[in-house]
Amino acid sequence: MSQKTLQEKIRGNPKFAELVGKRTRFAIILSLVVLVPYYSFMLLVSLQPQIFAAKISEGSVITIGWPIAALIVIGGWLLTGVYVNRANGEFDRLTQEVLKEANK
């Protein structure tokens, strides 16, 4: 089968549209979940730095800035796990089905 017809079959498969749609939406949402807090953080750091000087608890010298920054790092990593989990499961299954059906 030529590459061209293979492509047309993939394009015509509703599962392909489903795969691309779902994956694109998921990637955009996760990117926003990372970037919106990150840029809010950067904006506050430069405009309202005193916010981060509040102490995490009475009697502690640690400011809330430290756990917030750590949370952005740890949260960012956990989100990569969320993406990989779904992409390597659901999305890869859909991809395999699309490819298999195109080769039929």
């Binding site: 400011t63 800035g65 790092v73």
Partner: protein
Amino acid sequence: MKRSLFALITGCLLAVSFTVFAGPGAIEGVQKQPVNVSAIAMFLIFVLATLGITKWAAGKTKSTADFYTAGGGITGFQNGLAIAGDYMSAATLLGLTSMVYFKGYDGFVYAVCFFIGWPIILFLMAERLRNLGKFTFADIASYRLDQNRIRTFAAIGSLTVVCFYLIVQMVGAGQLIQLLFGLEYNTAVICVGILMMVYVTFGGMTATTWVQIIKACLLLGGGITLMLLTLSKFGWSLDNLFTKAIESHKLGEKLMAPGSLMADPISAFSLSLGLLFGTAGLPHIMMRFFTVPNAKEARKSVFYATGFIGLFFLVTMVLGAAAISIVGTNPDFFEGGVVGGKLIGGGNMPVMHLTKAVGGDIFLGFLSAVAFATILAVVSGLALAGASAISHDLYARVIKKGTATSAQEMKVTRIASVGLGITAILLGIAFKDQNVLFASSVNFPILILSMYWKGLTTRGALWGGIAGLVSSVGLVVLSPTVWVKILGNSAAIFPYDHPAIVSMTLAFFVTWLLSVTDKSARAVKEKEAFEEQYIRAQTGLGASGAHAH
């Protein structure tokens, strides 16, 4: 000093490209230290082990695919460690701890900026990179565009990034090794250059990957051990650690909140933009995505890499904060014993002094050896990316138009690796005592648009790329750091040190404008070809598999 230090770290990590300036050394007044026997012994063990690996890898490296991508046979976990290894340079360890040591919380903000690109690379790029690429970044940029012009431009872009990045690493290597091992600067640079040539020329990607993996483990293991040793000195209490830090630092309580570094929002935004997309444009990092067998493993590798890098950054934050009270109050670590004066070895040394203070000479020797190994590994990754741009892109594709045999291409790669090794040594010696910095973003706009935008044409990509390149170089020259501090003019023409906000906008705009107005027959064909690329990017249909020989 602070300024040049930040510039150096930014340069080391950011590096999408370009230009280099002579300035006062970042590591000022490096004194050659007495020869450190335990450090040298540990380093020799590392070198012997990695040479053994290179010999083994050389036996496995038969085709160009073996050479450039280890035959696509690296697992996601291994590749994750290797990516982390590529990203965590000695400059990251020394630079970030030193920023926390001097500036407190601002150092953490910087670390967050360096980190945040990784999740985005996974969500938007990793699997498309794997599905579309074969050996180099130029494979993707020129996928459906003019092979000669776009590939040449992309290869030159990669080579330039590689060369300037090599300067930073070689100069850093020379200074660090002089300080830690007591070797002459030139000897150190030559050692690094020769070892790099051996790894890359004989072992190719397989050897380079394993050198990265070993080094990443050593760096993480060493860093975590040091952190635990350090925390034990504070009774395992972060509160205690920070209380001591506040008592010892001239900034006092201000240490704990954002300071002056990010005070200007536009500057902060531009920096974060450069860092966010800078990582995604590093040729030696992108190349790592082609070493895994499929998109699944590519995704896993970013998950592991992100975890290791995040962990490493958090560890460096603790080390930097601990150094404030442990190193900052100990006269042994200051020149002439003046506490609060100049640190012995320069502003990048807090973590090394901390190591000596809590771990003694043996641990200092170990961490010195790890730092040396780190430089060696990063330099090898760079050289491999540079060699593949020369042999795969320029020689095999542009000059030979794809008619070169695998054997010919391999020969050119090896010659290119040796050439890059010699270049690196010469650059390292020429730029001795210089501070080197970069500006951002040449590769990224073309890369992302070629994957996502159907309308991209050769004309748009070429001129957009050139616009990004020229503007980022130009604006760095006109920036406060270079125009005022280095060139000695009275006022900066461009007010920001980080040009990404302007240069990236310009690159995107020019690319867009010259693409949409491109009505040539070739442009029409290029737009039609997007369909095939799109399906391959989404499904991996036709993607180069493992062991393509």
